[in-house]
């Protein structure tokens, strides 16, 4: 198989993996779990930046960019390695049952494609979670003050958490607003805790 054929096959398998319920079930956990981390981090940065007297939105954006790179890389890298081990172990179990080597077969390629999708979704969650609430800081000094930017950022982050909850609620057939509220509440709790951290009450 030529390099181009192999690349086309990888792309085809990766696209198919987005429709595989088993792959997407694992991906959802990584997406929401890491998205939750990213959103909480952005609330922490937004509140503590305002309370500790960071002078402008550009500085906050630079801090958030650093956090986004860290969390995004962590999301992709850790899952890439976790899923390498998990999927190799699963392949080994199938090989034992089949009494044959499954290297370079459709079965192995599907495991690889599943791992690519898992890692992508794991990185996408925190990137969205941290970058969406950062948007108001881009308008600080244009038509928002630091206080307004921080408040809108917390609102966006809490809404995002609510939406993560709604998404999970819909999958599990729970009442969507209850599931959303449970997740959104975490944003309010983190904001309140940040207000009482040393330096926060200044």
């Amino acid at each position: 198989m030529s390099r181009i054929d192999s690349l086309i096959r990888e792309l085809r398998e990766t696209r198919a993996a987005f429709g595989d319920e088993e792959v997407m079930s694992i991906s959802r956990r990584y997406f929401v779990g890491n998205g939750f981390d990213g959103t909480m981090t952005s609330i922490g940065i937004a509140v503590s930046s305002y309370l500790s007297g960071v002078p402008d939105g550009a500085t906050v954006l630079m801090i958030i960019a650093g956090a986004a790179v860290g969390l995004g890389t962590s999301g992709v890298w850790s899952v890439w390695e976790i899923e390498r081990a998990e999927k190799q172990a699963e392949l080994k179990r199938i090989e034992d049952a089949m009494l044959r080597d499954l290297e370079e077969t459709e079965v192995e390629e599907r495991k690889h494609a599943g791992r690519r999708v898992n890692a992508f979704m794991s990185g996408l969650g925190p990137m969205l979670g941290i970058l969406i609430p950062a948007i108001p800081f881009a308008f600080e000094g244009v038509f928002l003050s630091m206080l307004q930017a921080a408040a809108i950022s917390v609102f966006l982050a809490t809404t995002l958490l609510f939406l993560f909850g709604v998404y999970m609620g819909r999958i599990s057939k729970q009442t969507w607003y209850k599931a959303g509220f449970r997740m959104g509440l975490a944003g309010v709790v983190v904001t309140v805790i940040n207000l009482f951290l040393p330096g926060g009450a200044q």
């Binding site: 179990r93 199938i94 049952a97 089949m98 009494l99 044959r100 499954l102 077969t105 459709e106 079965v107 599907r110």
Partner: protein, 94 residues
């Protein structure tokens, strides 16, 4: 040499790709007109499938390679029909 018109193969395969995908992939091969896949036995991680492949000119090696590429193993070739389809008749040995 007379072309192969029908092959009945006993295969062992993992759960994934599914039997549906297996049948579809093999029916897409050149010279194959139709595929009938029947589940014979299911185990913890694997399934035993009877695959009946029909066509005007089946390339057996291509079928076997495709089965192996999909992660399956050919257990046995249970029937081959070459040239014209011959009606099975009962003999005293049956």
């Amino acid at each position: 040499m007379a072309p192969i018109k029908r092959v009945v193969i006993d295969i062992l395969k993992p759960y994934e790709p599914t039997t549906i995908e297996f049948a579809q992939e093999i029916s897409d091969l050149k010279g194959v007109k139709g595929v009938n896949a029947t589940l014979l036995e299911t185990d913890h991680k694997v399934q035993n499938i009877k695959l009946t492949v029909e066509g005007k000119k089946i390339e057996y090696d291509a079928v076997k390679t495709k089965i192996e590429d999909l992660g399956g193993t050919v257990h046995s070739v249970d029937q081959i029909v070459c040239g014209q389809m011959v009606e099975e008749i009962e003999t005293p040995q049956d």
